[in-house]
Symmetry: C2
Subunit: 383 residues, 2 copies
């Protein structure tokens, strides 16, 4: 039997605390908690009570150099993920970074660049929703070409409701300096990643972003973004933290069919019997009327509906288990760390378009983004 | 018993022909076909066979001056609606214009201006979907403030599938000179009107419009538009003629609830027990977790689902009947003709934004729009 991967948890907040519990409960094969690190002395007391046998550090470099951990997970503010990732990899410590990979692409690029020099060390990212069989199925259908070339994507994902009390929990929350953004940086990175994982990256982005619209915060609580994929395909992405009756509806239209995902639970797949382009080229309006008024849609496409169940926490433990398997036997990563940059690039492009009031192209002008972000941080401090 | 309104049908195409049939079948109370007019000699033969007792004209002015009609309906190319409306009202002939009221706001404004000088003559527009009880219910809920101030609207209306054969039916179809646009001018005016009728007019519009994307046409077959209502509220409007598995999903989020209309058949209304702003201000994250994980959404809002049935043609006959009632006894119009300008302004703004590559404000610069439209017509001719 192989040895277990000893994970160093950096940051014993809500997320780090949950991971420690999952591992303690034996829900993550081949992983154990090697050490815990937090700069907050109160967390030390918590750790000593809950995990008396686990070494505690207030400095993550010290933890990494202690010999007690083989890997770390970075449950810390987003800005710190790239730096911690690099410091870990530098020491041949496997790095599982939390999402988002960073706040701006320039810092994430540095992380990816360094990671590329360490191919033998495991570098993963906590895109837990990639372990969701529903999205794996959707990706498989797209990758197999079952619905043909993508023409349009629409995702309305407003299930990220957060009351003012959530934002008021800590001073760094929902600030430019502390988080570097709102719903795009904190909640929606999951969907930004899934979207690019499934449908690819757009070439152009235009947005209408609402900063402090329904909440007393500096950063965004509502986003409407429009994508142009450069090959004719278009997309819309909508997210918000002020919709308590949140919608989660993801639609992908292809030449050969359509996929609609409702509430991340139900997938409806329509597969055309003939490509739409062929139907258009060969059907008369009379044929069309017959289909619409008489024969019904069954003649045009087959419809499949699949329901998926999800278990709280199962996605996170699946990422950790996959990460450990990669460390131990080279099992391919579901979410390689280097993939993290795409969601960050999307979030940055959406911010930048709203700041400049115009469409922006991808790859992004990363120096311009950082300069504009630093302006926001400066403005925020002077208020 | 009052006398019936004698309608002069201008244009015996698909629409005009259907109206003649509806009236002949006695489906429109208080209305009869007074005369039919068409410039096409083949239509004369059709009219003589089907309606041997109805006078036929090849000139609509002559028909209006014959004493055979009290009103006209303009089932002719869109560009002609304003002119015909004015000529009718000028002669105290009641005018029911087809949608859209015109192709560009400048011409529709002239019509409205003239109509304002003739308040005693009935001026209506064929916004048949306003007679749909479903949309009347949605408007009533919004107008009553039941879901509070609108925060967001999203309408994906891609059920307007048209194959290439549809566009190839006549040379004027889907050209700038013949129709002045594609899906925005021909199919989607219904939804553009319903949207503004229910949610009001936006202040700013940005769009990504695809011209001849999946069809061999000069005009648009796909539209993504983003609205800014100027008071914080935002909207997205998507339409296309290339989605044979079309989506029709209209969502309105308010401070106090949400309405989702699926397939113009099912309305789901969620009414919050407390305004969202109050929930945000008073709930802790702990309260939130309890709602989401334990008590379920039933605690937060009441949900009502209403199904509506629709009958082919019933909407059109209802508009005609309401128009006749206004003529005969002053019953208020469901769709006053002067309302037609709003949908035209939305369509124009969406075109203009895509032509200029930037956000445009409403009210629109109508001279600029017309100049740009005329450029398209000129380009099209020189090809």
């Amino acid at each position: 039997m192989m040895k277990k991967v000893r994970l160093g948890i950096v940051g014993l907040g809500a997320q780090g605390g949950a991971y420690a519990e999952f591992i303690k409960e034996g829900r993550v094969n081949n992983m154990e908690v090697g050490a815990i690190c937090d700069v907050d002395p109160e967390k030390k007391a918590v750790a000593e009570e809950k995990y008396p046998d686990v070494p505690f550090y207030d400095n993550y470099i010290e933890m990494m150099e202690s010999g007690n951990v083989d890997a770390i997970v970075t449950c810390v503010p987003h800005y710190l993920h790239p730096e911690m990732g690099i410091e870990a990899l530098k020491r041949d410590i496997h790095a599982l970074v939390e999402k988002p990979a960073g706040v701006y692409t320039k810092q994430v690029k540095e992380l990816n660049k360094f990671a590329a020099t360490k191919p033998e060390v495991t570098f993963g990212i906590m895109f837990n929703q990639r372990t969701n069989e529903l999205y794996q199925k959707v990706k498989e259908i797209i990758d197999n070409g079952e619905i043909g070339e993508i023409r349009r994507t629409n995702w309305i994902i407003t299930t990220w409701w957060r009351p003012q009390g959530y934002y008021d929990q800590s001073a760094w929350r929902a600030t430019w300096e502390g988080e570097g953004g709102g719903v795009l940086v904190n909640q929606a990175p999951h969907q930004l990643d899934l979207l690019q994982w499934i449908a690819g990256m757009p070439k152009k982005v235009y947005s209408n972003v609402k900063y402090g619209y329904q909440r007393d915060i500096a950063v965004e609580d509502e986003v409407t973004a429009m994508f142009d994929y450069g090959n004719g395909a278009t997309g819309v992405f909508i997210t918000a933290t002020h919709d308590v009756m949140g919608t989660d509806r993801f639609e992908i239209l292809g030449d050969n069919g359509k996929i609609v995902v409702d509430d991340s639970k139900t997938v409806t797949i329509k597969r055309l019997k003939k490509p739409e382009s062929e139907m258009s080229a060969t059907m008369s309006m009379q044929d069309v009327m017959e289909i619409f008024m008489g024969k019904g849609p069954g003649e045009m496409y087959d419809e499949e509906v699949i329901e998926f169940e999800s278990v709280w926490g199962a996605q996170h433990t699946a990422v950790m288990e996959n990460f450990a398997a990669n460390v131990l036997d080279g099992t391919p990563l579901l979410a390689p760390g280097s993939d993290g940059i795409n969601g960050v690039a999307l979030a940055n492009a959406i911010h930048l378009s709203s700041w400049l009031g115009k469409e922006v192209e991808l790859p992004l002008d990363e120096d311009l983004y950082l300069a504009e972000l630093n302006k926001k941080i400066k403005e925020e401090k002077s208020e």
